[in-house]
């Protein structure tokens, strides 16, 4: 059971003067229980890719298969796919419409046919996961702070209990604490066996939290692998619009001079390696 993207290509306004290639021959497999980060600069096709994963967009060529179901098939399948692939859009707090947090979060599961106690249970489970106190249930979501609103919006997707969770730039506009909390949430979701697909432009964040990373540029895959593999690949190629984390650049230099053995973007691991090297020198 996995989410498979095979040779996916998509062009906006084909045949018109405004034609724009958004995706070209993109392929990858996302497994349950892993965090896959899709990293790319603005306009690289990240969001277009996200909309393909739950069938909001249907591939013009290639295919997207979720647990054996093709997104390019009948509407019944599409419903099942959307239920199992939760999509959190950029600035998800903008989708809030309900009068209470409870109503907002129950929107998804209610649409998928949950009623009564089972529905209530899902709502409180989702709130618990995202770290919202039960007292928030009857609060007006429009009066919450920005960070709380975003948590409500993410909870409203979690409440459908998706097995794949796709998040488009979930950290945009969050402060440092917000980013840390969200990272922990993504970790705990993947530990529960959910496949987390995290779309971002922040390579440093991706290197530090992901199991695997897919780098796309101008709609095409330029690198795909574990954070370590990606670190090695990026020492040889330059990806347009991608800023290397300072720690990673530093570790390239240190490795070149032979001071450390392993590339890393984790400051603590780098410090440890430097310390070990110092001891060796004595």
């Amino acid at each position: 059971m996995s989410l498979t993207v095979k040779n996916l290509s998509f062009t906006y306004n084909p045949g018109l003067p405004t034609e724009a290639k958004a995706l070209q021959n993109v392929s990858f497999i996302a497994e349950k229980g892993e965090i896959l980060s899709i990293v790319g600069h603005t306009g690289s096709g990240k969001s277009t890719l996200a909309m393909h994963l739950n069938g909001l967009l249907v591939p013009q060529s290639g295919e997207v298969i979720v647990d054996g179901l093709n997104t390019d098939s009948d509407p019944d399948n599409l419903k099942k796919i959307r239920q199992c692939v939760g999509l959190v859009f950029q600035y998800p707090e903008q989708q809030i419409f309900a009068e209470t947090v409870r109503d907002e979060i129950s929107f998804g599961p209610h649409n998928w046919g949950q009623r009564g106690d089972a529905l209530e249970e899902r709502v409180f489970e989702a709130m618990d996961l995202i770290g919202l106190d039960n007292s928030f249930a009857s609060a007006n979501p429009f009066l919450l702070s920005g960070g709380e609103k975003r948590r409500v919006a993410i909870a409203s997707v979690l409440a459908s209990e998706p097995s794949y969770l796709v998040l488009d730039e979930p950290t945009a506009g969050l402060d440092f604490t917000g980013v840390c909390e969200l990272t922990l949430l993504l970790r705990s979701m993947s530990e529960k066996g959910i496949c987390v697909i995290h779309i971002t432009h922040d390579l440093e964040l991706a290197l530090n939290i992901s199991d695997r990373i897919l780098i796309i540029s101008e709609g095409a895959v330029t690198a795909y692998g574990t954070p370590l593999e990606i670190s090695e690949i990026l020492s040889n190629i330059n990806v347009k619009g991608l800023i290397l984390p300072d720690i990673l650049s530093l570790s390239y230099e240190l490795k070149k001079t032979g001071s450390i053995e392993n590339l890393t973007s984790d400051p603590y691991y780098l410090a440890e390696q430097i310390k070990a090297a110092k001891i060796r020198c004595r």
Binding site: K79, Q83, F97, H110
Partner: protein, 269 residues
């Protein structure tokens, strides 16, 4: 989503032509004059001349016949409907056929044809204006045109500014609507099945976030305008002032000569 795909608003087609470069006030004036004159010319030769003028302008401003006809399509239904009414209700002695109390006469058919053709020409002529003038030029032109009315308390600048802002935000709002619809569909919202009331209700989760966004946008825009000391039209100067030069004089003269000949042709017929 497919719901709002393919909606094109405003039909400005940028091109490098004499017509495109004309002062919007000149184009507005010519359009208003032609609207009056097309209504005054009832004879078929006069209408043929108007049609040839429309074709000439379209050619000069690189607008394809297809685009022009397509733009007038929505109005065509209305024109056909009025023409049908004309056929049956004009009265006349030469009856072609009758359905119950409805009688179609030769006179009625001719009137209907005349009326329909005139309306169609009218729509095509105004379409030329929107094809060759960008929305911002158009509102500049309107502001200038309504300028004299400010003396009687008509807020010409404010109306033009409102038009510009509205036109500017239509594409943005479409984009935002699309995003909200996508987000709600991802959470299982269903806009297609069920009866009318159920489907109307399904749009509440789209409309509320949209209104919230619109108000926020309006607030931000107002602050941004205030921060740059916007105080309405008084004492405001333009970055690109409208200029009435020899090209405008030529265009207007040519139009006046053309319409004079059409009017005399119409009289003489």
């Amino acid at each position: 989503m497919s719901l709002i795909k393919g909606v094109t608003l405003g039909q400005y087609m940028p091109a490098d032509s004499f017509i495109h470069k004309l002062d919007p006030r000149c184009k507005l004036l010519i359009t208003v004059l032609s609207m009056i004159l097309i209504f005054m010319s009832g004879s078929f030769p006069a209408m043929a001349m108007w049609a040839s003028l429309i074709i000439f302008i379209a050619k000069r401003s690189q607008i394809s016949a297809k685009a022009l006809i397509k733009s007038a399509k929505p109005i065509l239904v209305l024109i056909i409907f009025t023409s049908l009414l004309n056929i049956f209700f004009t009265g006349g002695s030469n009856i072609i056929f009758s359905i119950g109390p409805l009688k179609a006469s030769v006179e009625g058919t001719i009137t209907a044809f005349r009326m329909g053709l005139r309306l169609y020409l009218l729509v095509l002529f105004t379409a030329l204006l929107t094809f060759t003038t960008s929305p911002s030029e158009l509102s500049d032109g309107l502001e200038a045109a309504f300028g004299p009315l400010t003396r009687f308390g008509f807020p010409a600048h404010e109306v033009a500014m409102m038009m510009t802002i509205a036109l500017r935000f239509i594409p943005t709002l479409f984009e935002e609507t699309e995003r909200i619809i996508n987000a709600q569909v991802s959470r299982g919202a269903d806009f297609v099945s069920g009866g009318l009331i159920k489907r109307a209700k399904a749009y509440i989760p789209v409309l509320i976030p949209l209104f919230v966004l619109v108000f926020k946008r309006a607030d931000t825009l107002a602050s941004a305008m205030e921060a740059r000391c916007y105080r309405g039209g008084k004492g405001r100067v333009r970055m690109y002032p409208l200029t009435w030069g020899s090209a405008e004089n030529k265009a207007l003269t040519a139009f006046v000569v053309f319409s004079a000949s059409v009017i005399s042709l119409n009289r003489w017929m």
